[in-house]
């Protein structure tokens, strides 16, 4: 049982490293969705909510609390816009700020991870 638990911790660490690498792509996708909001495409809210939900859920589960918190803020704000047919500029600005914060957190965690286990 002890070996199984140790193997599981190791696998979770590997998943965490993979997750952080994927996060940068996801931030890129968030920025594309923010652009769509800027040109008035309110359908992007639902996609933002779903993408942020994924980042928040997986991030928190893998021990990246700060990433989970930032992504959850994006998810909640996007969810609250349900039914809006015209994106509010202030909301889009706030989502942009949250996304920048999220990117910063991802960068910090990736830096910490590479310092503790340098990639080959």
């Amino acid at each position: 049982m002890i070996e199984k638990r140790a193997a599981m911790r190791e696998q979770i660490n590997q998943l965490a490293a993979k997750f952080l690498r994927r996060c940068s792509q996801d931030v890129g996708s968030l920025r594309v969705l923010l652009e769509r909001l800027r040109i008035g495409d309110a359908a992007a809210f639902k996609e933002l909510e779903y993408l942020a939900h994924r980042l928040s859920g997986t991030g928190a589960l893998l021990g990246f609390e700060s990433i989970g918190t930032c992504a959850a803020a994006i998810e909640r704000l996007a969810e609250a816009q349900e039914g809006n047919t015209t994106p509010d500029q202030k909301v889009t600005e706030r989502l942009t700020e949250y996304t920048a914060r999220l990117e910063e957190e991802i960068g910090l965690r990736a830096l910490k991870l590479s310092a503790s286990s340098p990639l080959p």
Binding site: M1, K4, R5, M8, Q11, I12, L15, K18, F19, Y50, H53, R54, S56, G57, T58, A60, L61, L62, G68, A72
Partner: protein
Amino acid sequence: MTDRNQLRTVLYVDDEPDIREIVEMALGLIGNLAVSTCASGEQALKVIPTLKPDLVLLDVMMPAMDGPTALGRMRADTTLPVIPVIFVTAKAMPQEIAHFRELGAAWVIAKPFDPMELGKQVLMAWEGIGHQ
């Protein structure tokens, strides 16, 4: 605990591959438990009739068919035995839990969960829903 009431098979449904992998590992820590996973509610509805799991763990927010819809479809299918369903979700405020219970969920496990403790949580839920 009698054999009849022992938890032997679990189906975990979540669209996130990382979370499926973690849950599979976490529940793998429980001896004699077979764990299957599905990436969507639709896929789960296809495998449940043949797999006949003792317990289904359903993510709530999934694209196309969410957890509550999948549960509704399971209950609407009279050919299926009534398999207890646990929702695994970040939406775990008391009023949200009450809502999921009204929909027919036997239990709710909050996300994020501690992977090292998930097995215990699931066994506790299994006992709590009357299978001890």
